[in-house]
Symmetry: C2
Subunit: 485 residues, 2 copies
């Protein structure tokens, strides 16, 4: 590096350091933390943060660190909200959980036990749903890649709904149905103008979706009963959901008018937010990185909650059909993050602290290998041992895998940390487990906390597990002399 | 969406579509493909791309798709280049492979069999190296998170080098060494001004590294023999490497002058590139996304190769020490991507095609779940069946997991694809396997192709494997009636 570059670098660094405290105050966001009580956590003297009376710190002592903890009461609360019939209505929605969001059998079986079905996107997930005893009429099969064998299995079993991701899939469905002499219940995924579409769905705009429906209905092997759509982009407000549902409802009118098709099933997909999680805006991320300005916390109470979302779905669909004097279709919902996001937390420990010029690095035993989502979403972080101590110091919180990309929080004000302290990353119930890797470290155990009792759902990976599928695991010849000397 | 927004959206879309062919020609990058011969692939009539005479297509037919293929001849070639003594020199470098880059026992054992040691960053990797029969004097232990038990094991066994990631680790090393009555061979990781440092190393600038050395040498329990540094940012040119080595060498002079310390080991870390892989620049990525302009291919011949890199390391260190009349230290290298990056390829199949307005979506059975790096690095993609057919059509190549983030190539010109075609993603030997997830799909098998013969290194994950650690795997109660009707 040239002397000039070095001087410029030093000047920049000094300017940032000088500006940081000023900007931190001047540009402080309105909300920087969500209180622990939001998740039912309480602080008990000498025990730190507790859930259902159990100190979180004791959980890692008993089960090891890092550790996933599923809060069963929160899970059941979310299920009940999704399944409740809204006030003043004759019926509510039918709910199919998005398996890919958090595919832990011990979580899925609780959902199924309460009446939630399975929304699957792969041959593996079909196998898992059947293995968990989900009745075929409680399975909806979506996704862009359905293996031939899995479509065959789904049709043979007579699943509730087989949704074509795009029109090109219809030919495969019809061929297999003809071979089996079955007539599967089929939906088509369509895309509206809201949110992203990408590889998903056939667009309503331009008439492609209408043509696909005409094509599907021309096949005597397919029983075209449904329509499937996702907003795509996360739904956080009533307006976002309403706009999307209205676009879908307008298309059901088109189907009625153009093809005389009255749908039995309207599958409105997922996309509902976890209220306490929000994507970090580019600007907030940069301000945090450069000036250590706190990342703004989302306002959970300002977000569209489950009960209102369900009520809104029923209200919009019922009133639309009532105005037209037609019977409203069954409404399917496929929640993922809204169902499980806030029902799980990830505990980890401070392994070591590294003092830097302008901040302290806190190196945890859990990083992006177990918590990839924290890189770009707001996730509340608690100091389990001393949650109420003043957040007096700025930490860069990183994980154990040896890459600068393993950064969970670029600049996070926390109570003073010491080695061995326990931290809790909240809202770990959506996309933490499926995006987990075994990068240099085994994957953590998953336990359930249920009415104050602990139960193992998945044991931690061992070193042996990591090479269990390998053929070469024994001692290799290794010259102990060096080649260079 | 309002009418105004919709009109603006349509106008934008039409402008892009009009501009695309014009800009594709006007802004075409100099190099858009790397020829198949670079990897020793050849096209045979009726067989498509072949490696060592074996049609790649036949590999997925025999072993399943997707499939990782390790090219053993390429691996051995890279090892030989790293271990060769440069012309005119009495000795070369000692080489320790970065386990985290591609931790496949069947690959590691080949490296060890040829004389390469293990560079490890976790308790798991220490366990694996010992399990594979690596002699302790061929093990270097780095990384910011070393468990107490693993440090104890490393010191007991007498490994070659225990490197403190930051000064704070020294206390732990000394304490455990004292308890065991051993004196481990210790290095300190330092950071220069080049590349990134983040949570890694103690900075030379400002004197922190010098103070850490003084602290380390004050402990009678530590045998301070080495210095450890990584450039951080990828090394692609001689200048990048030279600048980094010179900064490190200048600090060895400081250690000599200030502390009278003459190092036995100079560990120059890794960071050397895979010549045929390059990070995609933000601008190129955006142009590809918006205007379908081809992503420029790197020039493999213009990159710093292994042999020249090794020669340069020896040359710079020897001449520096010769000028000072002192004996040069042993030089350690810790290659990762440069060793294995271009020795592996990932085969996948086109599962389905979705026709869009302005491009075709090719949905593969392999996505970011197995090839995360392709999201931001150039990786050559071959049509295995018809590699020489004109690349006449623009595809967005996506994977099977149900998220728009599962996009491997935003706009890639390829020969006309049909369902079932096989594609080869090149240079899959660095960070593909460690960053792999089991997201909705099991992980693929890994085979070796060795002198025309195929050998299984790791079998594909099964559905059963995916829930092997779970406690709940049986049938759950599931009400088959819906709650809403």
């Amino acid at each position: 590096m040239s002397l000039k570059n070095r001087l410029v670098g030093t000047a920049k660094r000094q300017m940032k350091q000088t500006l940081r405290p000023v900007l931190q105050r001047a540009m402080a966001p309105k909300r920087t933390e969500i209180p622990a009580s939001y998740w039912g956590l309480e602080q008990r003297p000498g025990q730190g943060l507790c859930l259902e009376g159990v100190p979180l710190k004791a959980l890692v002592e008993r089960w090891g660190s890092p550790l996933h903890v599923v809060h069963m009461a929160a899970l059941r609360r979310n299920v009940e909200r999704f399944l409740a019939v809204p006030q003043g209505r004759a019926g509510g929605c039918e709910v199919f959980y998005s398996y890919k969001t958090n595919p832990i059998p011990g979580v899925l079986s609780v959902l199924h036990g309460m009446g939630v079905g399975a929304e699957i996107i792969s041959a593996y997930e079909l196998w898992l749903a059947l293995k968990l005893g989900v009745a075929p009429e409680r399975i909806v099969y979506n996704g862009p890649v359905k293996s031939e064998a899995s479509v065959r299995e789904a049709i043979s079993r007579g699943i509730q709904l087989l949704a074509a991701n795009h029109a090109e899939e219809l030919g495969t469905f019809a061929r297999i149905a003809a071979e089996l002499g079955k007539r599967p219940r089929v939906a088509l995924r369509v895309s509206t103008d809201s949110g992203w579409a990408a590889q998903f769905g056939t667009p309503i705009a331009g008439g492609a979706a209408l043509r696909a429906y005409a094509q599907a209905r021309a096949s005597s092997h397919l029983d075209v009963v449904g329509l499937h759509a996702h907003r795509g982009a996360t739904i956080r407000t009533e307006g976002e959901f309403t706009g999307f549902v209205e676009a879908v409802l307008a298309f059901t009118d088109t189907l009625h008018q153009e093809l005389g098709l009255d749908l039995e099933v309207l599958d409105l997909g997922g996309s509902l937010c976890t209220p306490s999680v929000e994507h970090i805006a580019e600007r907030d991320w940069r301000l945090n990185l450069t000036f250590f300005r706190d990342v703004p916390a989302p306002d959970p109470d300002g977000a569209l909650g489950i009960s209102r979302y369900v009520a809104l779905a029923v209200e919009l669909v019922e009133s639309h059909y009532a105005r037209r004097g037609r019977q409203r279709p069954r409404i399917f919902l496929e929640p993922g993050r809204a169902m499980t996001g806030d029902t799980q937390l990830l505990l980890g420990r401070v392994h070591t602290l590294k003092q830097g010029d302008d901040r302290t690095w806190a190196v945890l035993d859990a990083g992006v290998n177990h918590a990839e989502c924290v890189r770009n979403e707001y996730h509340q972080l608690f100091h389990v041992d001393r949650p109420d101590a003043p957040a007096s110091r700025v930490y860069t919180v990183v994980g154990p895998i040896c890459t600068p990309g393993d950064t969970l929080y670029h600049a996070k004000r926390l109570p003073e940390l010491t080695e061995g302290d326990t931290l809790a990353i909240m809202d770990a119930g959506a996309y933490f487990v499926p995006f987990a890797t075994s990068f240099s470290y085994p994957q953590p155990a998953i336990i359930a906390l249920d009415d104050g009792k602990e139960r193992l759902l998945r044991r931690a990976e061992t070193f042996e597990d990591q090479i269990a599928l390998d053929t070469v695991t024994g001692a290799a010849a290794t010259p102990s002399k060096t080649e260079a000397a």
